[in-house]
């Protein structure tokens, strides 16, 4: 406390003598979350709280300009892509050090990706690296290394792909591609997630389990003038309502869980609303899957009728208007979004007529699975009411997420699943991420995430073709290809797209910066970019 005061006073003295641009505010801030931070291991962490912390602890070959989906080289100084799209060559930035003092070399990049893919790590990242040559042999335990990752010298990494993958640069920017030092991983063993060592903008100084994590600025970080703050403390186990009260009192700078419904209108109508509420669009779609292999939903007319029966405006009101009604798979911010597409408009009469045509004049009974966390049961009830209006009797099963996921991923089990609380927020800003696992044949397997069990081989072929357009200069052509795919999928109506939810973060008035670094499309909170005014 005293030390801080001295620092500040000394700083105030200095500032008087300095020209304005040197006024680096620094300072430390407090962030709260309700849920415990499970792990900071980049090969394992996969929830939206630890996602942004891992981003800031580690560095990757590629990253994004803060607040945007623009890819830029990060740990890489430069890269080249061969014309056939099968070879990617990266030159590493020189002089980058891990926080344990050692230089980052090419071998670390190879080690880190192999670690993310290795089943012994028990992480969720393996699936992203499937295009690298040698992936299959390595994951089946037939090879010691992934042969498609080559390191001719300490400063060069070459990736050889087995098929063109236009998303590959995005894959190298996701957390599972974070570079970790082998010796630190081996020293910590399975506890690496609690003792992370990286080369990112921050280092983890202290972790009191169940209470708080303290992050400190990495003074040697290679991006100029980054980060802006000297450090941040994450307090966990904080009830969102209490976090917002503390924020209003000045004890908290970012309430990570946003503003609970009970408090939302009061703050929204309050004098400081625009300084406190950050309401940002994210790459998310909330949808109801219609199981194409379960009767009577296997009938296209029935699926179309259900699409027309849902009053999406009403459902957005359940989440305090923090969502926009959706009519297609992709969210508006995603390349390939079809702004001209009208979708299935809300029309109860037409829905009833379609049902009658399909031979269900008196409706039918079915089951809707949903997450048991608020507001999802309430949304499921709204869907139940809407479908009752066309004679479809819905039984709701509201369960803990893993049980819903299990039901969705079991063939013939769940006729309908409301995706809220589980799926789908993009892993990276590319339309293909909304296809493979959730609408492609690859996801229609036991334990998969394609809960519509929609498997259209013609679409799969078009998807492969679109992902083969890996020349960045042809990105518009590629987006157009995806636009066509998703528009044609909607003709088969495997989903009822319901809304695109926005993320709300509450921040204290002293925190500066645009909304898109608090709800960053690739990071959620961008700790590297936020600053104190």
């Amino acid at each position: 406390m005293m030390k801080n005061w001295l620092k500040r006073t000394a700083l105030a003295g200095c500032i008087a003598l300095l020209p304005l641009p040197a006024l680096a505010a620094g300072g430390t801030i407090t962030v709260t979350y309700k849920d415990d931070i499970a792990t900071l291991d980049p090969a394992i962490g996969y929830d939206w709280q630890n996602w942004s912390m891992i981003k800031s602890l580690f560095s990757r070959l590629m990253d994004y300009t803060p607040g945007t989906d623009t890819l830029v080289p990060s740990l890489a100084e430069s890269f080249t892509v061969a014309p056939d799209g099968l070879t990617y060559t990266f030159v590493l930035r020189k002089g980058v050090k891990f926080s344990n003092g050692r230089d980052v070399v090419a071998g670390d990049v190879k080690y880190s990706i192999e670690r993310a893919v290795n089943p012994k790590t028990q992480g969720p990242g393996a699936g992203f690296f499937g295009a690298i040559a040698g992936f299959d042999d390595f994951s089946a335990g037939k090879a010691e290394t992934i042969t498609g990752i080559e390191t001719p010298d300490d400063g060069t990494v070459i990736f050889k792909l087995s098929r063109p993958d236009a998303t590959f640069l995005h894959v190298l920017a996701i957390n599972f591609s974070s570079v970790v030092p082998k010796e630190a991983v081996e020293a910590a063993g399975a506890d690496f997630g609690k003792k992370p060592v990286g080369s990112g903008a921050f280092v983890l100084k202290d972790w009191v389990i169940g209470q708080k994590l303290t992050f400190e600025k990495n003074p040697n970080f290679y991006v100029k003038d980054t980060p802006k703050i000297d450090g941040f403390t994450v307090e966990i186990g904080q009830e969102p309502l209490v976090a917002v009260l503390r924020l209003q009192k000045g004890e908290v700078d970012i309430a990570g869980d946003g503003i609970p419904p009970a408090k939302f209108l009061e703050i929204k109508n309050g004098p400081d609303a625009k300084d406190i509420i950050i309401d940002g669009e994210q790459l998310q779609t909330g949808y109801v899957t219609l199981n194409t292999q379960v009767k009577p939903l296997d009938d296209l007319k029935v699926r179309q009728a259900l699409n027309m029966a849902i009053n999406k405006e009403k459902i957005t009101r359940i989440v305090n208007g923090r969502a926009t009604p959706a009519n297609q798979v992709l969210p508006p911010l995603m390349p390939g979004y079809n702004a001209a597409y009208k979708g299935y408009a809300y029309d109860v009469k037409k829905a009833k007529a379609l049902l009658a045509e399909a031979g269900h004049k008196d409706g039918f009974s079915t089951v809707l699975y949903a997450s048991s966390t608020d507001p999802n049961p309430r949304i499921a009830q709204a869907i139940q009411q809407d479908l009752a209006a066309i004679g479809v009797k819905v039984e709701i099963k509201a369960l803990a997420n893993p049980n819903v996921i299990a039901a969705g991923g079991t063939k013939g089990e769940a006729p309908m699943v409301w995706s809220g609380g589980m799926a789908w927020i993009a892993d990276f800003p590319d339309p293909s991420n909304f296809y493979g696992p959730i609408l492609g044949c690859a996801g229609a397997i036991q334990g998969g995430w394609n809960w519509s069990w929609y498997c259209n081989e013609a679409m799969d072929k078009r998807a492969v073709a679109a992902d083969s357009i890996s020349d960045p200069a042809k990105k518009d052509e590629r987006a157009a290809a995806w636009k066509g795919i998703f528009t044609d999928i909607m003709a088969d109506a495997p989903w009822i797209p319901v809304f695109n939810e926005r993320r709300v973060v509450a921040k204290s008035k002293r925190m500066g910066g645009a909304g898109n670094i608090y709800v960053d499309p690739t990071r959620v909170i961008n700790y590297d970019a936020i600053f104190i005014k």
Binding site: D41, Q122, I209, N403, A406, D427
Partner: protein
């Protein structure tokens, strides 16, 4: 006495074994698949199978259970699926907070329960008695969430007497303990009241009064100690209950106890944590009852004589 302890410890080992077996089977029957949960949404069938094998979930149930018991015998509760940290470490990190809140909560419960129970008993049938009993009824039926937020709003936000959230100083424990105390005191007050009424009608109390002993001495020296026995038993039960976590109170006050840990583990089918906390709680219930049985003879010479 030593024989009693030995018997009870042997019995508790059996109870714990039973609890472990039942919990293990129940978790095994859950539809949710921990391997699918860990492998993430982009996983291939190969990855899911690999992870299931790594976790040993592809073994028969009995093999898995025996393996678990083998580790348990060495004090090893395994590693969390999602955090990869040792379950023992996670529980130990949260144990101090849970124990402090348990002790403070029980202290408030018992203090309030004794005071109001005695007052009600002495005013039996009168308006004061009815008022106290009505208050007790409200206390035991009020939702934790509401009481916790109410106390927080008044004493932390409006008056600023206590911190709103966190753990570390004596001031932090006041509001969570008060919440638990207010909610639980009703049970104690009712128990004390009926025990006191019972005792106050006994011949020896009448004799004491007839001898001209002051009323205060009659109540606190002659009647109250005899009314305490059921309270001791109830504390034993509360120890077990508070050990298994007070999720809502912990959540509202940001109290880093065991309740929050197990709540999240359930959401993520983190079986080792669920098993570990269940066993620790079962142990606490057994231990709480054992302590109550051991303390009772210290207070009541009649039990000692038996």
């Amino acid at each position: 006495m030593i024989k009693l302890i030995a018997q009870r410890l042997a019995a508790s080992a059996l109870i714990l074994l039973g609890v472990a077996a039942i919990t293990f089977v129940l978790l095994y029957l859950l539809p949710a698949d921990p391997a699918v949960n860990l492998a993430g949404r982009s996983a291939t069938a190969q990855t899911v199978a690999n992870i299931r094998h790594e976790l040993g979930l592809d073994q028969p149930l009995l093999t898995q259970f025996l393996h678990y018991l083998g580790n348990l015998a060495q004090g090893n509760l395994g590693r969390s699926y999602t955090q990869k940290t040792e379950v023992v470490t996670l529980i130990l990190a949260r144990l101090p907070a849970t124990l402090i809140l348990m002790a403070a909560g029980i202290a408030v419960e018992v203090a309030l329960g004794l005071i109001f129970g005695v007052i009600a008993a002495l005013n039996r049938g009168g308006p004061v008695d009815r008022l106290v009993m009505a208050a007790c009824f409200v206390g035991v039926s009020a939702p934790q969430f509401v009481v916790a937020l109410l106390l927080l709003y008044v004493f932390a936000l409006m008056l600023g007497w206590f911190p709103m959230s966190g753990f570390g100083t004596a001031a932090h424990v006041v509001l969570p303990a008060l919440t638990l105390g207010v909610l639980g005191a009703g049970w104690y007050a009712r128990m004390v009241r009926s025990a006191m009424i019972d005792v106050l009608n006994q011949d020896y109390v009448r004799t004491a009064r007839a001898k001209g002993i002051s009323e205060r001495r009659v109540i606190f020296r002659h009647a109250l100690p005899n009314a305490l026995l059921p309270i001791i038993a109830m504390i034993g039960i509360d120890i077990g209950q508070f050990m298994s976590g007070v999720v809502v109170v912990e959540a509202v006050y940001g109290w880093p106890g065991i309740g929050q840990l197990v709540w999240q583990a359930i959401q993520q089918v983190d079986l080792p944590i669920i098993m570990g906390v269940t066993l620790v709680s079962a142990f606490a219930i057994v231990a709480g009852n054992l302590i109550a049985d051991l303390v009772a003879p210290l207070i009541d010479p009649r039990i000692r004589a038996r």
